[in-house]
Amino acid sequence: MSASQFDPIPMLQSEPDPAPAPSPEGEASPIREAIAQAISEHRVILFMKGTPEAPACGFSARTVAVLQALEVPFAAVDILPDPRIRQELSAISSWPTIPQLFVGGELIGGCDIVTEMYETGELEQALA
């Protein structure tokens, strides 16, 4: 894969602060803000387990494979280094599972929806 297809977000990949505490529902946290900013700044962004080069879960791997099959450039965020990323992401998206694909700031879905939309051609339209 070319470097242009992987756009890491340093802020989300930094070491976690000591003594992390999940923020109460609805309260802004730096991680939540960084996630929201990443979603708004990248037209196509995938939150996944592992990286596009080394997915750590079959569902993430399948979703990456779909995006690569469509030759779509996308940003990717590995949620595994810090459990708060997944907590805050799910709080933002009201979606409990990983991966999560966002296009134009909107949640497209997880692996099942992405795969289904790829098969029907809807994903290519959504990404066009």
């Binding site: 979606w95 409990p96 599972t97 029907t120």
Partner: protein, 81 residues
């Protein structure tokens, strides 16, 4: 450890007009694949439909239920795909 039948019954009890087919695809009681048809899905996007099913299980999805693969549709959609 939930069985595929448990998952099916919980979905059908919680969502209006739902019919679910559930498969435990690893046999381990923690990875399930569900196809759900429900009148409650009428007019909802796929994301909203999946959220309704996930909401049945709350924190169990990602916890005791490691994976719940979903295919959802409103009854009216069945013959249009």
């Amino acid at each position: 450890m939930p069985s595929a039948e448990d998952i099916k019954q919980r979905i059908e009890a919680a969502i209006a007009g739902a019919r679910a087919e559930v498969e435990d695809y690893t046999g381990g009681g923690d990875h399930f694949r569900a196809t759900v048809t429900a009148t409650a899905f009428d007019g909802l996007s796929r994301v909203e439909q999946h959220r309704l099913v996930y909401a049945v299980f709350g924190d169990e999805v990602g916890g005791a239920i490691h994976a719940l693969a979903l295919r959802t549709q409103a009854p009216a959609e069945i013959h249009t795909h």
